[in-house]
């Protein structure tokens, strides 16, 4: 296949070369060549600017300023025009006019309209953009001390919704652009990393310090060039490469600490004992030694007021160090540019024995071979290690009692007074708890002994060749290869819940290898022509090919006889089912795009991509993704010329189709399987069964999203104030839905093109430079985005799709979310909590007991006689006297009404300060922790401090049920909380050593800084952190149970360049 392509490309190149070459016009030399010398300074600070690129317009001849801002050029035509460019400064064009000594003052750019923006298969000058493309301010984002860029992305770009699982180092961060399109399939955007499209990257693979730009393509005009995989938006990431200039060695390092933001307040020993006294009889407490009423040894509940508290959270959490060291050397001549960088990042988790580590090395080389040919490439290798217990996942997969935080919060906070021999803190189990019905396990032992290791290796190799066939026509051929090898180790020794003698598995472990290999070949031709004064055209055409292979292999065993051998003793245990899988897909694409500009006023972009995917059959393999956009630069219209403050005004309209092919690679094939669960034994001997496991969805097609976007860009006062507003509406139809099938088919689900979803939203970004003086500048950025999703159609005329949260076996069969027709996805579903049954609801009997008044609702399965004052009460919506399935309703929204960010940059002399706020408003969180820790139904299970306010006979003015006052296992609005928050996310204070001081040291620049992450949070959410979404999916957002607490990070660092 590759041969075909290269052949085709070569033929085209050949075809071109047959034509007579058009030589570029040579300027007539009227003035003799000069030797010129000049200096470049900053227009506001008047400091010399080193590293500024100086090029003679129309040639490749040029130079770079030295540390004093000085440059020299010889053999320059006297009428030459010099072009000065430098990152962060406005490009300046200076006709020489015969001068041999010049002084140039570059103006720092505020929001450059001429800045190049990375888009699909090329770059576009910002003012010429017709689509909606958001850019991350990397200078700002770099200030956040985080392991991975996605942890700092929230609130930076309007329209990008970020929800992270919890605070675990290396935990998944879910990024969704302009709302979820797909109900059951992956909604994450397509990533293009240095030109390589990746559907599901590990963002923790990338060193944030090594990222040069992040562009977010949002509307269809921008994304359609990526066709079949672009419906969820595209994030283009480019990493740093060598730049022309002297070799520059840079070091960025920081060291800091992380601390848990918010520990859950728990009951103290006295309150705990008071609760036990309520739950059980004095006999039990006496037997267990908690109270002693025998003569002479009087010990009562009251005595626990001063008892020593066992702080399990304190024992588990730690102040954890975090450090980062990035070292790079970059530089180059006019023809050769290089870059070598390395990074070490080490983040210990705030939970003992957990953390994340990354080591990375990267090299890039760009070589200009001759006037026509440029080649280059890069190689990177990254390895990451994520380790430690994951509190958010249930150890046995089904019971919430096996999540780590269950034991942390629930473990007994106090031993019987006077019991000096209690070994509660050292034992694996709490003696007072029956291990066969309650899975509490010493959490410190769990965290110390569970081995959980994700070891990942990433290799990426990219190469390219740019060949300038004609002055205006360039051929670009790129090739890339990536290999990801992941290994997951798990080992449970006898000091862990699963490996202990209290469980059935014995010492156990598993090793699994996952390998992905991808290759890519892209061939594009770009024709870029200024036809005449008014007409400019740019045409891109290309063919790309990509292939992917994925496989995994894994083995596990129980009852390992020699636990000291660790995982290498796996072969000695009782073998468990072996995992093995191989998969592959290929994609071939043809793409084209035309950009046409008339008078710098009317801009037109049209693109078309054809994608062919191996995931579909026959006629459905190929699909076409067109887009068109029109932009009108109003600013260049005469009628706006006189409005002085206005510096930019552009109206954009775009429409396009994009696709999604994220189904399993072989969804169109029927499958016959041989699973371990499909055996049968005859005569006490096992016989393997062959069973149909999947129905062929032969007609499967692409999912298609059409999107319309209307945008406005305006700038005032020479771009000191800029505003971008976008309204979009997208409709996804032919949804690739893992659709449920009626059980009569014999199958549970199959991929079908069924269902329809729409998303509609508004995005605003405002950037202002509030103060700009020589000494002091203050600029702010503000983004806000609103998105509203709507389910328009479901499987087989289904009116709603209910989703279950799998966190506890008693709750698993009750749906928690619902997607109803014409309503948003991810709505929370359950009973309306109606407070408590109070004394008024009962008739007091002569024997002192309380009998519920007739007509008061009871729950399904509950006898009226069982209901007592202080019990939880739910609203009987249909008034039939029984609270059951028919009384469930929407009790919350999983997705926010709006999200955004607010950043402030201050610079005073050499000091700089960045304050970044981020928020989410209007989303609800299901705080399932309260279903367990505001329950009071289990002996010796400690509860949240909030449970002290429970209903008690002398404390009835509350809405927290009495101990054990919840019947059955139901979700209600009681535990649905407002998850809105405002967070001072990043604070960074820096001091840059003055250039004067550094002159003699050989140091080019040096900045010291203090940075903090997650410093202050304002929220009404009562859980540990509102930025939480356990088991996140488009249908199940905002769930919290046993989350890894989010840390607050503070670091000191230095950024040094030689």
């Amino acid at each position: 296949m590759l041969v075909c392509t290269l052949l085709a490309a070569a033929m085209m190149a050949h075809g071109a070369s047959i034509l007579p070459m058009i030589k570029p016009d040579r300027l007539l030399q009227q003035i003799p060549p000069l030797h010129i010398k000049g200096k470049v300074i900053d227009a506001s600070t008047r400091e010399p600017l080193p590293g500024v690129s100086v090029v003679i317009q129309g040639t490749s001849q040029g130079s770079v300023t030295n540390e004093n801002g000085v440059f020299e050029l010889s053999d320059v035509p006297g009428d030459a025009v010099l072009v000065f460019t430098f990152v962060g400064y406005a490009k300046q064009i200076e006709p020489l006019k015969g001068r041999s000594n010049i002084m140039i003052a570059l103006k720092p750019s505020v929001n450059q309209l001429n800045e190049a923006v990375v888009v699909g298969y090329g770059t576009v000058v910002k003012k010429d953009l017709t689509g909606s493309v958001g850019q991350v301010d990397m200078a700002d984002m770099d200030k956040a001390p985080v392991a991975s860029f996605d942890e700092a992305l929230a609130g930076r770009v309007a329209g990008v919704q970020v929800s992270s699982t919890d605070g675990q180092p290396g935990a998944a961060v879910n990024i969704v652009i302009r709302g979820n399109n797909s109900l059951t399939q992956d909604n994450s955007p397509l990533y293009v990393i240095d030109g390589f499209p990746v559907e599901d990257p590990d963002n923790s693979e990338l060193d944030p310090d090594n990222i040069e730009t992040i562009s977010v393509l949002k509307d269809a005009s921008a994304t359609a060039i990526y066709g079949a995989r672009a419906a969820n938006g595209v994030i283009i990431i480019t990493t740093k490469r060598g730049k022309e200039g002297p070799p520059r060695i840079s070091y960025n390092g920081y060291y800091g600490i992380q601390q848990v933001i918010h520990e859950m307040p728990l009951m103290d020993p006295y309150e705990f004992m008071k609760l036990q006294n309520e739950i059980t009889t004095p006999n039990v407490l006496q037997e267990d030694g908690y109270i002693d009423t025998t003569a002479g040894h009087v010990k009562t509940i009251d005595d626990y007021k001063n008892a020593q508290n066992i702080d399990w959270q304190g024992k588990l959490f730690r102040t954890a160090p975090m450090q980062n060291h990035s070292l790079s050397i970059r530089g180059g001549s006019q023809n050769t540019r290089y870059s070598v960088s390395g990074q070490l990042f080490d983040q210990k988790g705030v939970l003992i024995n957990s953390g994340f580590r990354r080591a990375q090395a990267k090299m890039s080389l760009d070589q200009t071979v001759n006037d026509k040919l440029r080649v280059g490439g890069d190689v990177s290798y990254t390895s990451t290690l994520t380790y430690g217990t994951t509190p958010s996942s249930a150890e046995n997969g089904t019971s919430s009692m096996t999540n780590l935080m269950y034991s942390v919060w629930g473990y007994r906070p106090v031993v019987p007074l006077g019991d000096t021999s209690s070994s509660l803190q050292d034992d694996l189990l709490d003696d007072f708890v029956n291990p066969t019905t309650d899975y509490r396990f010493n959490p410190i032992k769990t965290a110390e002994n569970q081995l959980r290791k994700h070891i990942n290796h990433y290799i990426r190799i990219n190469g390219y060749a740019d060949y300038q066939i004609l002055k205006d026509l360039t051929l670009r051929i790129t090739g890339g290869f990536s290999r990801t090898l992941k290994r997951y180790d798990s080992f449970n020794n006898s000091d862990t819940w699963s490996g202990s003698k209290y469980n059935i598995y014995g010492v156990n472990g598993s090793i699994t290898y996952y390998e992905t290999q991808q290759w890519l070949n892209e061939n594009t031709l770009t024709y870029n022509k200024q036809i005449n004064k008014y007409n400019k055209i740019k045409i891109l055409g290309g063919a790309t090919f990509q292939g992917n292979k994925y496989n995994y292999y894994g083995a596990s065993a129980n009852h390992l006889p020699n636990e000291s051998l660790g995982l290498s003793g796996l072969d000695e245990g009782t073998p468990q089912p072996v995992k093995a899988l191989t998969e592959a897909w290929t994609l071939a694409s043809f793409l084209g795009r035309i950009n046409y500009t008339y008078k710098d006023k009317y801009l037109l972009t049209a693109s078309l991509r054809a994608d062919g995917s191996s995931k579909f059959q026959l006629d459905n393999k190929w699909s076409y993704f067109p887009s068109a956009a029109f932009a009108w630069r109003l600013i260049n219209e005469p009628f706006l010329k006189n409005i002085k403050p206005l510096s930019d005004a552009k109206l954009r309209v775009s429409w396009g189709l994009t696709g999604n092919n994220r189904v399993s690679d072989y969804a169109t094939y029927a499958q016959l399987g041989f699973p371990m669960t499909a055996y049968y034994s005859f005569d006490d001997a096992l016989a393997q069964g062959a069973i149909p496991e999947g129905l062929a969805s032969e007609d499967l097609k692409w999912e298609s999203t059409s999107q319309t976007d209307v945008g406005l860009d305006v700038g005032f006062f020479n771009e000191r104030i800029t505003l971008t507003a976008d309204y979009y509406k997208k409709t996804t139809s032919r949804l690739l839905l893992n659709a449920k099938l009626p059980p009569t088919t014999g199958y549970s689900s199959a991929y079908k093109n069924i269902g329809k979803v729409s998303n509609e939203g508004l995005e605003l970004s405002l950037h202002t430079v509030n103060v700009q003086t020589k000494k002091f500048t203050w600029s702010t950025g503000f983004t806000i985005s609103f998105n509203k999703s709507k389910v328009l159609e479901l499987t087989q005329n289904q009116e709603s799709l209910e989703s279950f949260m799998s966190w506890d076996q008693w709750y698993n069969n009750t749906s928690l979310y619902i997607a109803k027709l014409d309503q948003p996805m991810g709505q929370v579903y359950g009973y309306i909590y109606d407070g408590l049954y109070q004394y008024d609801d009962f008739n007091k009997q002569s024997d002192g007991s309380y009998v519920l008044k007739p007509g008061e609702p009871v729950q399904s399965g509950q006898k009226a006689s069982q209901v007592q004052p202080g019990d939880a009460k739910y609203r009987d919506l249909n008034g039939d006297g029984i609270v059951n399935d028919y009384d469930r309703t929407v009790i919350g929204r999983g997705f926010p009404i709006h999200q955004g960010g607010f950043t402030n940059d201050f610079r005073y002399g050499n000091f700089d300060l960045n304050l970044f706020f981020q928020w989410s408003y209007g989303n609800d969180i299901i705080n399932a922790n309260r279903l367990v820790f505001e329950m009071g139904n289990k002996l010796y299970l400690n509860q949240f401090k909030s449970f002290e306010k429970r209903w008690e006979p002398d404390h009835t003015n509350t809405d927290i049920p009495r101990a054990g006052g919840q019947f059955g296992y139901v979700y209600s609005s009681r535990v649905v909380e407002d998850g809105s928050y405002l967070r001072l996310k990043t604070v960074s204070l820096g001091y840059k050593l003055p250039t004067r001081l550094l002159k003699r040291t050989g140091i080019y620049s040096c900045r010291f800084y203090l940075s903090a992450q997650n410093l202050i949070t304002w929220t009404g959410y009562t859980g540990s952190d509102p930025e939480v979404s356990i088991h996140y999916s488009a249908l199940t957002p905002g769930f919290d149970y046993s989350a890894y607490p989010r840390p607050r990070t503070m670091v000191v660092g230095v950024k040094l360049s030689l």
Partner: protein, 561 residues
Amino acid sequence: MKRIILDKNIKSASSNGERTAEGFAAPVYHGSFGSNRRDFIGVMATLMIGIGCKKFLTTKPTDFVSPVNYFKNASEVNSALNGVYNVVGLEAMWGSQIPIRQNIGTDESFLSYTKWPTGPFFYNFDPSDPYVLNTWRNCYIGIERANLLLANLEGADMDSSEKGAVRGQALFLRAFYYYTLVQYYGDVPLKLTPTSSVNNVSIASTPAKDVYDQILSDMEEAEGLVQTASEIGYGGRISKSTVRGILARVCLTMAGNPLKDTAKFQDALEWSSKVIDSGEHLLNPDYTQFYINFCQDLYDVKDSIWEVELYGNNNDANRQAGRHGNENGISHKPSDFANIGYAYGFNSTTWKLYHLFDDIDLRRDWSIAPFSYSDKTSYKKKDYSDSSIVQRSCGKFRREYELDKPMNKNYTPINFPMLRYSDVLLMFAEAENEINGPSQQAYDKINMVRERGYGKLLTGATNPEEAHLRTGLSKDDFRKAIQDERARELCFEGLRKHDLIRWGIFVDAMKQTAEDFGAHAPASYAYAMTAAENVSAKHVLYPKPALELSLNKALKQNPGW
């Protein structure tokens, strides 16, 4: 090669952006250049890419087999058959839940676990109940597997009698799954071919009577194809006796409620006679040994004609163990559960069942354990007081006889009876009574069962007549006697509920059970009384599962639900 056409045509086709024969759009760039020659080269290049693309974009699955090229020989066909059998042994089916949880709430037994306030065992459930769904789902999974095998069997290269035996087993199992469906849900969709498409999946119900006709015809065909019990030699595989015995059961069901096709009593009599007359079957003289055999994977096809075979204890990679002896065992919560069998004792006796036995009926204290195990490290027994009746749980499956070590807390290799010879004898007696009244034949069969139950078949036993049923009963009294005898003999084996339904006495029996709880059980058993009180006429059927109804628009809900 049709693609090589005139230059001109290609040009117009590609510049219109139409699909070429290979189905991709011509790249848009090439039309923008001037010369014809370059166009030609561009098109040629595109075509070459196109030819390659078709192959390039085909990735054959490397991870699984396609049903299209399976079922080629005996070994593949037998693997597919094993998959059809597999459903019988699932935990949600006879591996545990059908007998232990779903059929437990009757006049002979109840589920003594209070943590679930809802579920079919408490007669407090709705169409979205997981048990309602799973029974339905698993039956249709089994049916789909059988349909796929039956549709592909003909082409297999194998011995024709062996092929016939496979066909017979697949037909029988499919019919058995339909029999289960029709008993639980009434009219159900009847599918006799594999599902062919992910679309058009709505299927209407077939009237129960027609489903029964299909069951009879499939089972009758199977009867001529499968091997005899003696040829097979163990209880897990479908034998002629199994087919005949189950046919007798099906016919009795048809003769009773709701079809009331009383002509089927004659068929029931004939099918049960065929089992009896085959000479292959005999009661195991020792009632307790009969059950110990299940715990130890010993086979006695003379008496245990068909049993669901469970294997291992899920400590190993194979997940083929069940929960017999665990959920329906004698309550025991040892800490050392790797060596001492852990059991929940969820299946408990009603006051009625206990009192159906007389004091010398050995079956009573075996079926209803008069003790629980109290010790955490051994099988030490602690007797119940004489007044504690409903506290007692099923004692038929005792983990102390289990051999596989280390044990699993929750999963056991204990097999479970699907068809017993004593059941066949009682079915014979029942059918005979309905047709000819309480004849000597009928008395003989019931007395055979009773003699064994009273230990009168053991060597050295005396006075066999002590076990005999009172003579001179009227037809109605004999019917009543059969009903009671079936409870005594077959209690806790998942048959009672559908027996009561076909006799048309289910709702009344549950009313009486509720009263019994009120009169004879401690207050803490109020939930069990509530469960029995909940029973109403609609409970003779499950509702159709909500999931099926929401996806299969051709289906109608059962009356009352």
